[in-house]
Assembly symmetry: C2
Homo-oligomer: 327 residues x 2
Amino acid sequence: MHILVTGAAGMIGRKLTARLVADGALNGQAIEKLTLIDVVAPQSFEKFSGKVDAAAADIADAAAVRAVVAGRPEVIFHLAGVVSGEAEVDFEKGMRVNLDGSRALFEAIRAMGDGYRPRLVFTSSIAVFGAPFPPAIGDDFHLTPLTSYGTQKAATELLLADYTRRGFLAGVGIRLPSIVVRPGRPNKAASGFFSSIIREPLNGEEAVLPVADSVLHWHASPRAAVGFLVHAAGLDADKLGPRVNLTMPGVCCTVAEQIAALRRIAGDKVASRIRREPDPLVARIVAGWPSRFDPARALGLGFRTEASFDDIIRVHIADELGGKIAA
Amino acid sequence: MHILVTGAAGMIGRKLTARLVADGALNGQAIEKLTLIDVVAPQSFEKFSGKVDAAAADIADAAAVRAVVAGRPEVIFHLAGVVSGEAEVDFEKGMRVNLDGSRALFEAIRAMGDGYRPRLVFTSSIAVFGAPFPPAIGDDFHLTPLTSYGTQKAATELLLADYTRRGFLAGVGIRLPSIVVRPGRPNKAASGFFSSIIREPLNGEEAVLPVADSVLHWHASPRAAVGFLVHAAGLDADKLGPRVNLTMPGVCCTVAEQIAALRRIAGDKVASRIRREPDPLVARIVAGWPSRFDPARALGLGFRTEASFDDIIRVHIADELGGKIAA
């Protein structure tokens, strides 16, 4: 099997590639080749016995995308994109990469015109939803994004469904929850604190909490996100039907519950490293985000995530900290 | 006031232009100039005292669209588009005209970059919805179109909302019901029978009914459609809020109720000109269409349509037949 990953140098892209390399197979078939593209050339994997093509390529460069698709990957994980904050600051770049880039990929597939019909797993986001919300967002709630990023993801979902309906490709859109605990250093994303209030205390550092303890949100671990993608690649198209875009399951909890989980797992001393410093701007941004879903379709199709925020913390400790917590 | 109408040579475009000319004003301001574009040059109106620029222009031709927008129309009615059947047969043309054309218009407005922010009324369609449906489709039901036309309209709705949110324009998207009774000759649209079973009998001709009498659908007259557009042009943006795309009110009735209304208004002899000739293909297409909505937001914002199918027939007799029925 030949697999293409776009956005392969990103956090999820690297973890997905590592999982594919570790598994050596997808959908029960041995992986013979991985094509990894991103705006910077993704790292290669020494442990992988198959062929790896890792290259720098702009997803919105139609010729570059056609060249990659000409290799006829059976499964495409389309993760490439500009993140939320950047798409809001640079409207043209967000439209070019997130919308035109996705369309360039879909068009390159359609242009093959010889029956080629890959499974295409697209990472969308719960940013396709915009407030006001019902207490739990069901699978038939409308998409009214309040960011350009969410708009670009929602428009791509529509195209993915139509290209699938017409038989040009076999699409699945995966609306990811907020991914915590993100590894690495703190970043400037408004959602960054959901990760940093866990990650920094576990590293023996102080973290700042800019919102109230009562803030409710929808989380899944990086490991769960990779699990969604791998599961989506193997979905039965008949069971999926024409509504190919799915809200993923997540763990719904408040910031207070996040902190309580940290205390249970790592103790009072670690949990005491969170300093409350309210930021009205962050609080206002977060208030517009969805917090709870009823992802019945995804659950029915076998998508699974962590059972609790405790499990999300345990995944972080296992995958990023070698199982160890700083005292 | 300067008004631009795209798709001005189409059925709704011509009726809208005639209404604007007859009113001489919009939103309480005298109309000084009308710019009318379509793929063929729209007709001009002798009765209009203001300036009329009527020109052939391809909505997907960015330079042509920029030239039109440079005239700074305060209100833009964006009706241009390829119809449902054509967008399904010719995928590339539908994408180019319906999606890229709309985006070219929005981009031409954004490119002005000097505070220019016209009211833009976009005609969307209930084709943005796809089966299965709840008994009545509420304002927060998701868009899962089952045609490329519906996909292109839904994606344009998303862009319209984001361009509005960012302050590039002041958009309103109007999801039109099926428009009946369409004037003119029968066409090959699958929905054509909804009009022809009224129009042909009133003209003394036989009409063919290809579906069961129990088929339920969502109708409004051409006059009501024009009324929606004019009302949308005057909407208060604060009352509208960020969810700028609205399902319009309509008359929900079965084919049997349509025929009963025709019999009440025009008599048994006219109603007897309908011949039942089931067409399984048309029946299957129609089964995928939405039939009933709960358009609470549009009603709350003052959009109004006919009270009954009887009224829809009366509008047709008044507007198209000079008030007379063939015996």
